[in-house]
């Protein structure tokens, strides 16, 4: 076999205008050390910009409209509709999808982009409140992407203390029972304890995983350590203020997590979380868990220890240097190409089709300009609708463990219908004649059967409808 599947296993395949590299491993490895710029001809909103929009949306809704139109449902609805447009509430998720997909397809580092998608899903932000509308896209761009060429620890710190994650997992609601605020509230007769949500997911999903055998006491201790990391609440902006460490909410004293005791160094207790994260990032269960997830995402639903070993070693040797880990992963993926076939999730599969068939998708900056007055038009809402249709909205995972990597979770009659129907749906965006023979030879390790089948087909649409939902393109 030709290992041609490698280019879809690790990227988005090679289209007719993308030459097969002479040294596939070097080609992939050369994409890991630098963060490619986002590819977008318009302005790209920052996390701060988007917090302003988010803040305006929620504070106007809660503090102005609800009061002004109390008891007048119709008046409230129409004022809210206007607010939606003014703040781009229906627009920004579409813009983000365009920026995401355009960059992924055109940055010139498709392997980096696949890894970006992986890490966004590892530190997943769920579909809650207005995160998908205003916050998750910028979080992916500024928090996840900007920390992919350093140590895992830096990525973990950035994600853990980001506005999106703190909001996502309720850490602002956590009050240490013996903190200044906790004691004051207790005097008033309130029952005070910490919120365990973020601490639990930090252990379970982001670092060591349940295999580390942590206990409920560990979760509570980590919650104490994390208490104080909050997005402060203000009248004007509601919860939309940058994350700060607030000593008044923090549980004082020493706390033991996974057998090690953490205490304050210096005048602030801020270091306690950073110290725990430093240990979690080096924990053998973290290395193993993330090596397992990488292999499961790229190679097979059932990774083997042998597969994970080189990734775990690279982590160990470099203290969690992500480009080194990614390099080890590239070699493992290449080595196991053609031994295992991996089912491609809907978003990756769609982008592979867009790349291989050279479709003019997604809409470009000039199509996505918005006046913040009217409801966004058809094309401006199309990106989100399309992703909703195929059941894979990257800013809307339902649970903090993100989207599944398992084939069986992506197979149902209706999900297969989406795979059957999408080629025709996107066919108007094809620029010219597609050289199917070339695509199949370059991207499928076993090209004979599909080549033979398409030789009997006459129309481009029929070939498109056959090739992409076919076995050789669904899996890599």
């Amino acid at each position: 076999m030709t290992k041609a599947n490698f280019f879809r296993k690790i990227a988005f395949g090679l289209n007719t205008h993308q030459a097969r590299p002479d040294h596939p491993i070097d080609w992939a490895k050369s994409q890991l050390d630098n963060i490619p710029d986002m590819v977008w001809d318009g302005s790209i909103p920052t996390i701060k910009d988007m917090l302003n929009y988010y803040g305006k949306f929620v504070s106007t809704d809660r503090r102005v409209l609800r009061k002004k139109h109390k008891g007048d449902r119709a008046g409230y609805e129409s004022a809210k509709e206007k607010l939606r447009s003014e703040t781009g509430e229906r627009y920004f998720e579409n813009l983000e999808l365009c920026i995401r997909h355009n960059t992924i397809l055109k940055s010139g580092s498709p392997v980096f982009e696949r890894l970006w998608m992986f890490w966004c899903n590892h530190f997943a932000i769920i579909d809650k409140d207005f995160l998908a509308e205003f916050s998750t896209g910028p979080y992916h761009r500024e928090i996840i992407r900007q920390h992919m060429t350093g140590q895992f620890l830096d990525l973990a710190v950035a994600a853990t203390t980001s506005w999106a994650m703190i909001h996502n997992l309720d850490n602002s609601e956590s009050v240490g029972p013996n903190s200044k605020k906790g004691l004051r509230l207790k005097q008033k007769g309130r029952v005070i304890s910490v919120n365990e949500n973020h601490a639990r997911e930090l252990l379970e999903l982001h670092t060591v995983s349940p295999s580390a055998g942590y206990t409920q006491d560990d979760v509570v201790a980590l919650s104490y350590i994390m208490a104080g990391w909050e997005h402060p609440w203000t009248k004007k902006r509601e919860e939309c203020n940058m994350v700060k460490f607030n000593q008044k909410l923090h549980e004082p004293g020493k706390h033991t997590v996974l057998g090690k005791t953490y205490k304050q160094r210096g005048i602030s207790s801020k270091n306690k979380l950073l110290d725990v994260l430093a240990d979690l990032a080096q924990h053998e269960h973290t290395r193993h868990f993330i090596a397992f997830k990488l292999c499961r995402h790229f190679i097979t639903d059932q990774p083997t220890e042998a597969m994970m070993a080189p990734i775990v070693s690279a982590w160990e040797e470099t203290g969690g240097h992500l480009p080194s880990i990614h390099r080890a992963l590239v070699e493992v993926i290449y080595a196991y190409t053609d031994d295992h076939l991996k089912f491609q999730n809907p978003e990756v599969w769609m982008l592979q089709m867009v790349n291989l068939a050279e479709m003019n998708w997604p809409p470009q900056a000039e199509d996505m300009t918005y006046d913040f007055i009217a409801r966004p038009g058809y094309l401006k809402r199309r990106p989100e609708k399309l992703m909703r249709e195929i059941g894979h909205m990257p800013y809307r995972p339902i649970q903090p463990n993100g989207f599944s990597d398992l084939e069986r979770d992506w197979i149902s009659p209706e999900l297969l219908i989406r795979r059957l129907a999408l080629p025709q749906e996107l066919s108007p965006y094809i620029r010219g004649q597609i050289n199917f023979e070339d695509i199949i030879e370059k991207n499928c390790s076993t090209p004979d059967e599909p080549l033979q089948m398409i030789s009997k087909m006459t129309t481009q649409l029929e070939k498109l409808q056959y090739v992409f939902p076919g076995y050789w393109m669904l899996k890599a």
């Binding site: 304890s193 919120n195 409920q216 999900l415 059957l420």
Partner: protein, 377 residues
């Protein structure tokens, strides 16, 4: 509100599916419907059905349920469960309290996996207890959702339905795609389900509104040759903050449950008398409120039973008490009944299959208690 993607429906109909399995067995049976309402995130039994115990006020001062509806001397009902209360008054609702699946580790993902699979080891099973139950009863299923929920997955590919605007390719093209899938693979089996569909199910349509789907569900369940199993999914019971009591985030979710119940009752008419509606969640919540007026992940909770097949007006519980030493790990309402006993009994009653057969074939011969006669008509 329930999300549109969260609405799932199980079906056993020959006319819709052309399933050979429906056959003589289903035809010979009296039509009984089983509706499972999945409450994701950890439903707090102490907010839904608070015991009349002063301990509650001292441990949860800010999230006490006020203006409760009366049940009996020992328990009250959350005021958002109005329809459930009507059923209670009509003798069509009961409660099993202090129960849960045998899982105490407080992780949503493990807990939800187990509440759907019915097993004891997280992520070890690839099928769900409802899917295996349907399979053991020689019936067939249909989910109305885009992905296939674990709860309904069975040893055979299960069908689903979810409206789309997209246009399907011509059948010969689909058959060519099908020919590329390895024989007997899940992909091939699943594509066969697509190919066998009646044309009416392949027409493009865009109505995925939860109200429309709920209305469709009750209509289909009411039909003699319609579906027999429905699953609804409500997200958002994970109220770590601002949980509230009779009003608030947890109560809002209970109101979603109540709305589904009321739509079912309204839409199904007389068929509601031959229906059982049960709730399912991964765990209850801790007794103590936290600093953000929410609660943390716990253990024991309550299962709500409604519909004409329920022996009504009863609260079943081997009540463990709320004193510290009576709590699980000193923190949670304990579970004194394995909730799988309730689900196994519910399937026995609705599928009209022997409890023992289901206990062996669906729950690996686990020591579950037959509650069929105690709970159901």
């Amino acid at each position: 509100m329930i999300n549109r993607r969260d609405f799932i429906l199980g079906s056993l109909t020959l006319t819709m599916l052309g399933s050979p399995l429906f056959s003589a067995r289903a035809e010979a049976l009296e039509k009984r419907n089983l509706v499972v309402i999945v409450m994701r995130g950890g439903m707090d039994g102490l907010t839904a059905v608070p015991p009349n115990d002063p301990v509650l006020a001292s441990r949860r001062p800010d999230i006490m349920v006020e203006d409760t509806l009366p049940l009996n001397a020992d328990f009250s009902l959350n005021p958002q469960l109005r329809q459930f209360h009507k059923c209670w008054q009509d003798g069509q609702a009961s409660i099993y309290h202090a129960t849960n699946i045998p899982y105490t580790m407080r992780s949503h993902f493990e807990g939800q996996d187990l509440m759907e699979s019915g097993g004891r080891t997280p992520f070890a099973e690839q099928t769900g207890w409802l899917g295996r139950g349907i399979y053991a009863a020689q019936l067939d299923g249909l989910a109305i959702s885009l992905p296939m929920p674990l709860l309904l997955r069975s040893p055979m590919a299960v069908d689903n339905y979810y409206p789309t605007n997209l246009r399907m390719p011509a059948l010969p093209v689909i058959e060519k795609v099908r020919s590329t899938y390895p024989a007997d693979s899940l992909l091939a089996q699943t594509m066969d389900k697509v190919i066998q569909r009646p044309v009416s199910m392949l027409k493009s349509t865009s109505s995925r509104d939860a109200h429309d789907l709920a209305r469709t569900a009750s209509r289909m369940l009411a039909k003699d040759d319609g579906p027999r199993v429905a699953v609804f999914d409500i997200e958002g019971f994970d109220t770590h903050a601002s949980q509230g009591g009779g009003e608030g985030e947890h109560a809002d979710k209970l109101a979603d449950y109540d709305l589904i119940l009321s739509r079912l009752k309204q839409g199904m008419g007389d068929a509601f008398n031959n229906t059982l509606v049960v709730t399912l969640t991964e765990f209850g919540r801790k007794l103590d409120q936290n600093g953000g007026s929410g609660t943390e992940h716990g253990y024991g909770t309550a299962v709500l039973l409604a519909g004409g097949l329920v022996k009504g007006g009863m609260i079943h519980a081997d009540w463990p008490g709320l004193q510290k030493k009576q709590l699980y790990e000193g923190q949670d309402l304990n579970a004194t009944m394995d909730a799988r006993s309730i689900y196994c009994s519910a399937m026995a009653a609705c599928f009209q299959v022997d409890f023992e057969l289901l206990r062996r074939q669906v729950f690996w011969n686990e020591p579950l208690v037959d509650l069929t006669d105690q709970l159901f008509i």
